[in-house]
Structures are given as structure tokens and as C-alpha cells.
Amino acid sequence: MLNSLILIALLAFFCAPAMSAVSKSSSLPITLNLGSHTEFFGAVQNDSSGGLRKWDFAPTVGIGTRLNISSPEFTFLPEFNWVLPRGASSSKIIKNLFMFRADLGYNPVDWFRLRIGTSLMLANQYGQGGSTNMNNGNSTSKFYYPDENRSSWNNTFDFGVEVLPLFFEEPQNWSLRLQTYTYSIFREDRRQISYSVFWTYTWNNK
């Protein structure tokens, strides 16, 4: 947990000047997302007594922009997010999740935005190969780690709510967001919902 927090702080520290520089050279707002991603809400067993995972701390970073669509209430919000690789130093498998996203944003009021959109999710796993002896019945057997780079591509239907606090400054440069991603929306047996919680900072906000 502490490592993850340190990593997020370091990423923010390094990314902020870069974002600022990019936004100054462009007329578009640039957003930086920092947050955590929980995969498959309530559908993953996380202990041996049958408990289901409701929350997971998976550090996520992302970058995006905002395009106005004919009126200030509606915006087009493309972004790219990256759930940082998960793998212990002893692990032979490293997992990345990349999200290529686009939302339509609707601001019914200044401090609140509804987002509806879609994502192309790339779940990538990189196996470093090797084997290990593990318990198997009354003895042990050799099992193998993956040794290839393989990906699963998935499309999701997304819904999000974003709060843009007005208390501190105008225009509001930061926001908090709950973003959900629904997999296999038309297939009840495989329908799963993942979600992210984001803190977003916007440069060149107009």
C-alpha cells in the first residue's frame, strides 16, 4: 500500500511539469487522472472463506482532453488510462490494463458532470516462463509459468459521475470521479462491472 502511494506521488511529481508544458503549447485542456481501479466488482473471491472483492487498490494513471460540442453543457472526453502493472518481484507474470476511452459529458449544473461512453480495454499479461513445484494431491508436481505476451481485448459500456468542486477556484481545475465499466452488457452470464475512482487535474482549463 505504501509503495503504491509513493509511486502515485512520484508519477504526479514527474507528470505535472510535462502536462503543464503540453497544455501551454496547445489550446486544448489536458487532464491528468490519478486513481484506483477495481476489476469485476463483487465477482472475485478474495479469501478462503468465500468473501467477494468490493474494492481493490490498483493504482491507475491517465491522460485525456476535453472538446466542446456546440454548447458548454456537452463535451466530448477522450482519454487513455493505464492500470499500473501488477506483479511481485518474485512473480513470473506481469499484468497491465490499458483503457482507450471516450465519453460524452453532460453538465446539468456547473459542479456536476454525467459521463456516458465506451472503452476498449486491453488486458495484457507478460509471462516470463519457468516452473515451480507445488502441492498436488499427496505429493508435489511441476507446474509452469506462462512464457508469452498475450492480450485480451474487451469493449465496455461506461457510465460515470464527476464532481467538480467550486469552493476553491474558478474555473475548477480538479475533480473527483466514479467511473464504471460494464463488460458483456447483453450477456447476463458474463456481465461484470469494474469501476475506477479518479482524482483529475486539468491544465489549460477554460
Binding site: A43, V44, Q45, L104, Y144, N154, F186
Partner: protein, 283 residues
């Protein structure tokens, strides 16, 4: 600094699943049938063939068929014909010479898909015959190149422990063996179905199981239709059922339709003057 960043990145919780072979083998089709051996009897564990099928269905649907990031779909099939006899006797994999040379032992018949039977021969579960703790076993798969053609699962018909398990416990054991049959090995994590032991309560897959089946059977990029190569989503060409159609493109279409609908609604409400107008600064 870069070194520390990499160390930090690599220190998050790890995937720890394994595979049961060293070449990442998986079934060569997206829909795999799970069927019981036609003449199997599970008298030792007090199950009729109907009751065994009644355990297999949730073992499929509540576990492996729920993974949204996997294209693998398991289906309960009709029992095999009676020519495939794996219900009695010592069964050997083709590579196990010691087993093959044992009197009375027979080679595992080649099967397609996944076949489940009850068998009470202790040596099938433990070479020394001390099979009491072993509830079931998946005999090494039949491969063709890097592809699995079929797998055989034997339930220990001589196991008092399997007999004593609750219904959900039996379902979890069968589902675990199906995990082996589709190419997975064990996991170090007790939250995973592929952990080597039964646990207090098993409700669904763990993250390791999901990662493993996603590695072996990940959904393909929309438009990847093998030789056809046209935009069409990941439609299972080799499947015969309508519900084998992967809904990725449908979802994407619905997403953008919703965007358009919202834009139209805005125009409609604006016409009715229900959308608040904002003051724009003069340029």
C-alpha cells in the same frame, strides 16, 4: 530513480497462476463441451449420472463461464457412447511407460472435449495407491501441437472425503478439475479455485483463475476473424449457436447510439427551452 520506480511497480500484488504444461496449450475452439462418460456409475460416492450432471452444470456456469475477458465457453454435452470405458481399471497416459507396463493397465482413450467419469482405482489418484486424500484427478490432456483436443477427469469413486463434501464443495472440486482440463495449473493463493486444497467456502473464481483463463483464452481484437479479416467482431465461426456471437460490436454500437441519443435529447430540450442557457463572454 528509474530503478526505484521499476521496483515499486513490481511490488504490487502478483498474479500467481500456473499452467499444467510448458507450452501454454489451450483448446483449439471457443466452445468446449463437458460430458460424462456414458456408462459411468458413481455408486461409491452416491451419485447417479443425472446427479453428476447436476453438479457439472454449476461447476461450469458459476465459475469458468462467468469470465468476461475470456472467449472460452463451456457447455454441458450429452454423455459419451459406451465404447469409451474409463470407469474402471488403471488408466495410463501415453507418456507414462511405467504405468503402461503394469498388468491390467490400459491407455486413456482419446477423447474430444472434456469427459468426466467416476473411477475407483486408487493408483489412478496416487502411484502408491494411497488415494484417500485425492478427490479427483485430471489425466494429462491429449494434445495436437500446442492445442488441447480432449481431457479426462476422474472422480475418486473410492473417496469418503468426496462423498462427505457438501453440494457446493463437490461443485468446486469438479470446477477445479475442469480448470486443469482447460490448461491451468495450481495457484499459490487460497482465494483461487486452482489452489491445491479445498477451502472453507468457494463461491466464485479468484483473481488468479480469471487471469489464467484470460491468458489462455483472451478475447480477440474486434475485426479479427482469422482468414476473413473483415470488421465483424469476434464471431465464433466454429460455433453453431446464435448465442456464440461475441457482443463486443453490439456494445460499442450501443455506446455510440447513447451518445447520439443524448445529443438529440439536448437539442429537443433546448427547443423546448428546458436547457439552461449560460452566459457567454463576448469575443
Amino acid at each position: 530513480m528509474i530503478k526505484y520506480l521499476i521496483l515499486l511497480i513490481l511490488s504490487f500484488e502478483a498474479s500467481a497462476y500456473t499452467l499444467n504444461n510448458n507450452f501454454g496449450a489451450s483448446f483449439d475452439k471457443d466452445t468446449v463441451k463437458v460430458r460424462i462418460a456414458g456408462n459411468t456409475t458413481c455408486a461409491g460416492v452416491n451419485l447417479t449420472p443425472y446427479e453428476l450432471e447436476d453438479l457439472i452444470e454449476p461447476a461450469i456456469d458459476n465459475f469458468w463461464n462467468r469470465v468476461a475477458t475470456s472467449r472460452l465457453r463451456l457447455k454441458l454435452g450429452t454423455p459419451t457412447d459406451n465404447l469409451i470405458n474409463i470407469n474402471t481399471g488403471r488408466l495410463c497416459s501415453p507418456t507414462d511407460d511405467a504405468c503402461i507396463n503394469t498388468a491390467g493397465a490400459t491407455l486413456i482413450p482419446e477423447v474430444n472435449d472434456i469427459v468426466i467419469a467416476c473411477n475407483d482405482m486408487p493408483q489412478n489418484y496416487d502411484a502408491t495407491g494411497n488415494s484417500g486424500n485425492v478427490l479427483a484427478v485430471t489425466i494429462p490432456n491429449h494434445f495436437k501441437g500446442k492445442k488441447i483436443k480432449g481431457s479426462v477427469i476422474l472422480i475418486n469413486d473410492d473417496s469418503a472425503q468426496f462423498k462427505a463434501l457438501s453440494r457446493s464443495g463437490k461443485i468446486a472440486v469438479i470446477s477445479h478439475e475442469i480448470g486443469h482440463a482447460i490448461g491451468l495449473g495450481h495457484s499459490e493463493k487460497s482465494a483461487a479455485l486452482m489452489y491445491y486444497q479445498t477451502v472453507e467456502k468457494r463461491t466464485t473464481l479468484g483473481q488468479d483463475d480469471i487471469d489464467g483463463v484470460t491468458y489462455l483464452y483472451g478475447n480477440q481484437l474486434p475485426g479479427d476473424l482469422g482468414g476473413c479479416g473483415i470488421l465483424g467482431g469476434t464471431i465464433a465461426l466454429n460455433g453453431s449457436d446464435d448465442d456464440d456471437i461475441n457482443p463486443h460490436l453490439w456494445q460499442m454500437g450501443i455506446g455510440f447510439m447513447m451518445l447520439l441519443l443524448l445529443a438529440r435529447m439536448r437539442a429537443y430540450f433546448k427547443a423546448l427551452r428546458l436547457v439552461p442557457r449560460r452566459a457567454h463572454s463576448a469575443s
